[in-house]
């Protein structure tokens, strides 16, 4: 089984803030991590390899420093790594990103593609299903359990609103995974040595045959017009005084609003 795991290097979002005066991101000193959901995707790739044999390739699109994320994946046991890096990729939205990844996957060849359910910076959950569409491949989102993996088909459980579905798909297929699926392993000593030695394959726009109209800003249908800090409530009342006064005031207000 040939598995490709798509990962993303993201800022540790809990620490990203917006400067209320300039309305811009304050990114200084925010560490980069592998998107946490993608750690479960890597573990899923390793699980499939242990079950069925074959290989696991980790793939990312990003600036040259995204190589760090790929090397970490190798230290966990992934066989090889591909970095899609090109200035022409900059500014890609989910549609252009999915197109670029799909062109690379087309060249690499694959039986199973695995992505985390979403990245914690954008939270869109769109790139996975969009890759599947570009490759004309079925996909199953929000996998929480593998029931069966055969040569030509797979049975998994996917998380839904009110429970889960047991879903069967032919191969090749794209899966997106949730945290409940597994516990990502720690890198082994052997893995760490391999990660140091490993050669990370780099691919550019021309290597994957992507046209300039389909990538970067030009290939992105959506545009960010503005960013701003989450708002504050305007009609707020501060209830001052001793505890008993505060409680009485609150009860009076809530009774008037028929909230109780």
């Amino acid at each position: 089984m040939k598995t490709i795991v798509c990962i993303k290097q993201v800022p540790d979002t809990a620490e990203v803030r917006i400067n209320p005066e300039t309305n811009t991101l304050m990114r200084d000193g925010v560490p980069s991590i592998i998107n946490p959901y993608d750690m479960h995707a890597i573990e899923a790739g390793l699980y499939i390899k242990e079950k069925t044999g074959g290989s696991v390739t980790v793939l990312t699109m990003g600036p040259p420093q995204a190589e760090d994320a790929l090397r970490y994946a190798i230290s966990m046991g992934v066989d090889d790594a591909v970095l899609l890096t090109d200035r022409a990729f900059a500014g890609s939205d989910t549609c252009a990103t999915a197109y670029i990844l799909s062109k690379a996957i087309e060249r690499l060849g694959v039986d199973i593609i695995i992505c985390g359910k979403q990245a914690i910076d954008g939270d869109t959950a769109q790139v996975g299903p969009e890759i599947a569409e570009f490759l004309d491949m079925p996909h199953i989102a929000y996998i929480r359990k593998f029931d069966d993996i055969k040569d030509n088909s797979i049975v998994v459980q996917r998380l839904m609103d009110e429970g889960y579905d047991v879903v069967e798909s032919s191969l090749p297929v794209l899966l997106t995974v949730v945290r409940e699926l597994n516990d990502p392993r720690m890198p082994s000593l052997k893995g760490k040595i391999a990660a140091k030695k490993a050669e990370v394959k780099k691919m550019s726009a021309s290597d994957i045959g992507a046209g300039e109209d389909d990538i970067g800003l030009k290939g992105s249908p959506t545009q960010v017009r503005d960013i701003f800090a989450p708002g504050t409530t305007k009609d707020r009342k501060i209830l001052e005084g001793a505890a008993e006064e505060q409680v009485d005031l609150l009860l009076k207000e809530l009774t008037e609003l028929k909230c109780l």
């Binding site: 200035r87 910076d121 299903p129 009110e162 579905d165 545009q223 960013i227 809530l254």
Partner: protein
């Protein structure tokens, strides 16, 4: 549109460099220059003291516009009932259609004629309804193929769906197939009065930042909408509209749902349907704090929720968690006790009708979103509130 710096006006002061969230402005030969990282976010337009930064409109901005008409919403249903999110989509979709002077249509896959008629009573002018067997269960490939085909045929200018597990799974396929823009998990939608474009607002970076997104060049403009954020449409039992039966002759799928298993914990359901929620955070200081909250909840017939901090401490199970990585709730009354109000929590409860916050720290961010702010000690205030409510209710 693109952004350009007028070199003759640029004084080289570098003010704009720090304003750019994308590192897209660089200095070259003493003048600022915009590179390919520019996302056209327009933040820099207002910062230049010389007024040297300008937004340039291109002719292609008009490309493909005017070809589409109407607002569509994708209606989900569960067990023969329209899902709440469908009615919320009709609410916001109706507002957008009115501003565009266009019709509001709903697309319904599976389900019965009865639900199609209900959609009209809830505000749809037209319903595109397909009852083919393959749609009896949610199926990504079949759903995305037929919806894409219908969009190609009727060319709506806006298509909305719920940011539910199903919507967030199959709608991206539709957008990729049509090569158009899709904005995930929107919390606010409006029409830009100047351009007529759909203005889509969504949280990003874990809710720390809100982003306004446009899809100016391609149609339809597509968005998934977070459940429980938009107001429902009004129900009118006398409303009339057209139901268009759609066939799906060549639609097949390579995936197959073998079994659907329901697994709803009582609390999750309660939290999302609760009229009143009493929630606790790190300030509850453990079990004894939550005991007080459960007592208050008992008197109010409320459900108990928690912030991630309290869940991570192990004071209360995960199924009570509200926020980015927990549930999104929208009760009539949300009483936040000892919750500081990290944005990750706020995005999960901000749409509550009335928010009361009790916190020792008068500068806690929770007070920014609260309607009633009570700076004080929850260990004093919560038991007092419980006692007085008992008196009022004669318990």
């Amino acid at each position: 549109m693109f952004i350009r710096i007028q070199k003759d006006k640029c004084s080289g002061c570098e003010t704009c460099i720090d304003s750019c969230p994308y590192d897209a402005i660089v200095m070259k030969d003493g003048k600022a220059e915009i590179n390919e990282l520019c996302q056209i976010c327009s933040v820099c337009l207002s910062v230049c003291p010389e007024g040297a930064i300008a937004a340039i409109e291109e002719d292609s901005d008009k490309k493909e516009k005017g070809q589409g008409a109407g607002v569509w919403v994708f209606a989900e249903h569960r067990d023969g009932r329209l899902a709440d999110v469908s009615l919320e989509l009709l609410g916001v979709g109706g507002m957008l259609a009115e501003k565009r002077g266009a019709e509001l249509s709903a697309v319904l896959f599976g389900s019965t004629e009865k639900e199609a008629e209900e959609l009209i009573k809830w505000g749809a002018d037209r319903v595109y309804h397909c009852t083919a067997e393959i749609f009896s269960r949610f199926n990504d490939e079949a759903y995305s193929r037929l919806l894409s085909d219908l969009i190609r045929q009727y060319r709506p200018e806006i298509v909305l769906a719920g940011a539910t597990p199903a919507g967030r799974s199959f709608i991206p396929r539709v957008a990729a197939r049509l090569r158009t823009g899709l904005t995930a998990d929107c919390t606010s939608l409006d029409i830009d009065s100047e351009t007529g474009n759909l203005l889509q607002v969504r949280p990003a970076f874990g809710g720390n930042i809100m982003a306004a997104i446009l899809c100016p060049h391609t149609r339809p403009q597509m968005a998934t909408v977070r459940p429980r954020v938009m107001k429902r449409s009004e129900y009118d039992s006398g409303r009339k509209g057209a139901i268009i039966q759609v066939t799906a002759d060549n639609i097949t799928s390579r995936t197959n749902v073998i079994e659907t298993v329901k697994e709803v914990s009582g609390v999750a359901l309660n939290l999302q349907e609760a009229n009143i929620i009493v929630a606790g955070g790190r300030g509850t200081d453990g079990q004894k704090g939550f005991d007080l909250l459960f007592e208050l909840a008992g008197v109010l017939d409320a459900s108990v929720a928690a912030s991630r901090a309290a869940v991570d401490e192990g004071w209360i199970p995960y199924r009570h968690q509200v926020g980015q990585t927990g549930k999104t709730v929208g009760p009539k009354l949300y009483i936040a006790c000892g919750i500081s109000g990290a944005v990750q929590h706020l995005v999960g409860m901000q749409s509550s009708d009335i928010i009361v916050a009790i916190n020792k720290n008068p500068d806690a961010p929770i007070f920014n979103v609260a309607n009633y702010c009570i700076p004080g000690d929850l260990f004093e205030i919560v038991p007092m509130l419980t006692k007085k409510l008992k008196e009022v209710k004669g318990l």
